[in-house]
């Protein structure tokens, strides 16, 4: 129970309070008193807890398989220094740094995170983080809606399907309409209809993701962002794989006003989907509309540099129903892990890591393309993911790989019926040539069976 009270302590404290028993303190009306015994997990000793979780871990063998899974959660090397520093109790057990005088260290770390995100995206400002990539997208759209007064958004169908689904959940509440731009034959967003769409209706934002869900580098071509902005529409860029920022053109350089995304790749474990860490960056023009916490640099009573949460009047605890968002918690500790990771990797390490992702993925692409019956679906250049067209159903091929203890990727038919014969495969710096050989030879054994079923 982690409670230090002895029986004597309890008695002495009850005497001070002036009641006789603990029950007197917590008494509730009969109508709401417990009527039945509680059915919760039983009390265990710490030794038993560890044993129990070892059993649960043994029933979770996924991480021992060769894995080509990505699709928004990426396996990257995390230097031990990240966990070792981030798990310090001062960081782990502090609250949101409202008492700035005793939170200077954490506040500075978040200021450094904001700087890293601003430098990586090329934008002016970044917030202290939001829940994850999908909620960052939803919050970015809300910023655009508030900036323009429009309630429609136009988003690429090549954006992560989970992100689009979350946007639809939020859109129900906010009563927004979400229209989609198709993807083209090369795997990039098809911009052919963009001009007509913008002419027919005014949108709060046009949203594209790069690298997109198919792995394709999908930055807006020169001139497109300017044309969108000419209709007073905000350009939002989504980055679900933050590692790509170390290699690819910064989103600001291709015209993004608001960049949102997922930074799990920077030093955070996949952890079966969370906690991860969403980031949001924007031009100064949108500063007052950024949701969540912001750390600013100021001075103390002695004129010494000091950090403090700032622009708090935007936030829910002051503005209540007029707040820019209801966001309260951010992902401070995940952002801290990312900041330590970025500091330890440095420019050189990040460049190397991003380049290795591109190289290993090229190796995977070339190897899989040679397997009889398999093809690379899209021709656009990719960062660390490829769409592979398989004989038969993608889901069946993945089941075949699973029997060989290989997590081959994600079947796309679940979200894109027209891509039912496609899987999304990922390679990172942790993917070995031996694993690539293994999956390629496994694929060469599977197609006959999977295809035979069709």
């Amino acid at each position: 129970m982690y409670t230090p009270h002895t029986a004597d302590d309890v008695d002495a404290m009850l005497r001070t309070i002036g009641v006789d028993t603990l029950d007197d303190l917590v008494r509730v009306p009969d109508a709401i008193a417990l009527r039945e015994p509680l059915h919760v997990a039983p009390a265990l000793t710490e030794i038993e807890i560890a044993e129990r979780f070892r059993g649960l871990a043994a029933r979770t063998p996924a991480s021992e398989y060769a894995s080509f899974l990505g699709a928004g959660a990426y396996r990257h090397y995390i230097p031990p220094v990240v966990g070792s520093i981030a798990m310090r109790g001062e960081f782990l057990t502090s609250y949101t740094p409202y008492q700035a005088e005793v939170s200077q260290g954490y506040l500075q770390a978040i200021y450094e995170w904001q700087t890293y995100i601003a430098l990586l995206t090329g934008l002016d400002v970044a917030n202290a983080s939001v829940y994850d990539g999908a909620t960052a997208l939803a919050e970015g759209v809300i910023m655009a809606v508030n900036a323009t007064g429009c309630k429609g958004v136009l988003i690429s169908r090549a954006i992560h399907p989970n992100y689009r689904a979350v946007l639809r959940t939020y859109a129900e509440g906010l009563e927004l309409t979400v229209d989609e731009l198709p993807y083209g034959a090369d795997g990039r967003t098809d911009l052919a209809t963009l001009e007509t769409a913008l002419a027919e209706q005014r949108y709060a934002a046009v949203v594209v993701q790069s690298p997109n869900f198919f792995g394709a580098i999908d930055a807006l071509p020169a001139g497109v962002a300017a044309a969108i902005k000419a209709t007073k529409t905000v350009v939002i860029g989504v980055v679900a794989e933050a590692m790509s920022l170390a290699a690819l053109a910064a989103p600001a350089s291709w015209g993004v006003d608001i960049c949102v995304g997922e930074a799990q790749s920077f030093g955070n474990a996949i952890a079966y989907g969370g906690p991860h860490v969403g980031f949001m960056a924007a031009t100064t023009e949108h500063l007052r509309r950024i949701p969540g916490r912001l750390v600013g640099k100021s001075v103390d009573a002695d004129g010494k540099p000091a950090y403090v949460l700032t622009l708090q009047a935007r936030e829910q605890h002051i503005r209540r129903e007029k707040a820019t968002s209801n966001i309260c918690t951010n992902q401070a500790h995940c952002a801290l892990c990312a900041t330590i990771y970025l500091a330890a990797m440095g420019k050189t390490g990040l460049r190397d890591c991003a380049a290795l992702n591109v190289a290993r993925t090229a190796e995977l692409r070339d190897r899989v393309a040679k397997v009889d019956g398999f093809a690379i679906k899209f021709a656009a250049p990719v960062f660390n993911e490829i769409v592979v067209q398989v004989p038969g159903r993608g889901a069946d091929v993945l089941s075949g790989l699973e029997q060989r203890q290989i997590l081959g990727g994600v079947a796309l038919g679940r979200w894109y019926p027209e891509l039912d014969d496609c899987i999304l495969m990922t390679a990172t710096e942790l993917t070995t040539s031996a694993e690539i050989d293994r999956v390629a030879s496994a694929l060469s054994e599977i197609p006959a069976r999977a295809a035979a079923r069709v």
Binding site: R288, L311, Q312, A313, I318, R319, K322
Partner: protein, 128 residues
């Protein structure tokens, strides 16, 4: 004691209005700026916006509070004080001068009858 200059009209929401022909200049009163504390940001309507008298049209932010801004007069916004963005302290320093908010071309000049005289406003703040 808060400064309540003569020659201006006032609203119950602590805005002042200076009428010059059919154009009104609007700001917040000395009493308002002093109650709000250090003002850090003012969100004003856009030039060209049509305002309804006593409608909520923006916000005034101090470090840890935010207050709605209600317009004491209706009409079309003809000018906003761009200087506040870079120097929000001007609202605290000089609420009736450099810290003015916006100008409105009055739709109906008669609406000023709904506003308070300096004496009435002084009485209002004395009671609060």
């Amino acid at each position: 004691m808060a400064n309540v200059p003569a020659g201006l009209l006032y609203s119950k929401e602590h805005e002042w209005v200076k009428v010059d022909g059919d154009v009104a200049t609007v700001g917040i009163t000395d009493y308002a700026q002093s109650s709000l504390g250090d003002i850090v940001y003012v969100e004003l309507p856009n030039v060209g916006a049509g305002l309804t008298q006593f409608g909520s049209i923006g916000v005034v932010e101090s470090v840890k509070a935010v207050s709605d801004l209600f317009t004491p007069v209706g009409g079309e916004v003809t000018e906003i004080n761009g200087g506040i963005d870079s120097d929000p302290a001007s609202v605290n320093r000089d609420p009736y001068g450099a810290g003015w908010f916006y100008k409105v071309k009055l739709g109906d000049v008669g609406q000023t009858a709904e506003l308070l005289s300096p004496q009435q406003y002084e009485q209002l703040i004395a009671e609060s």
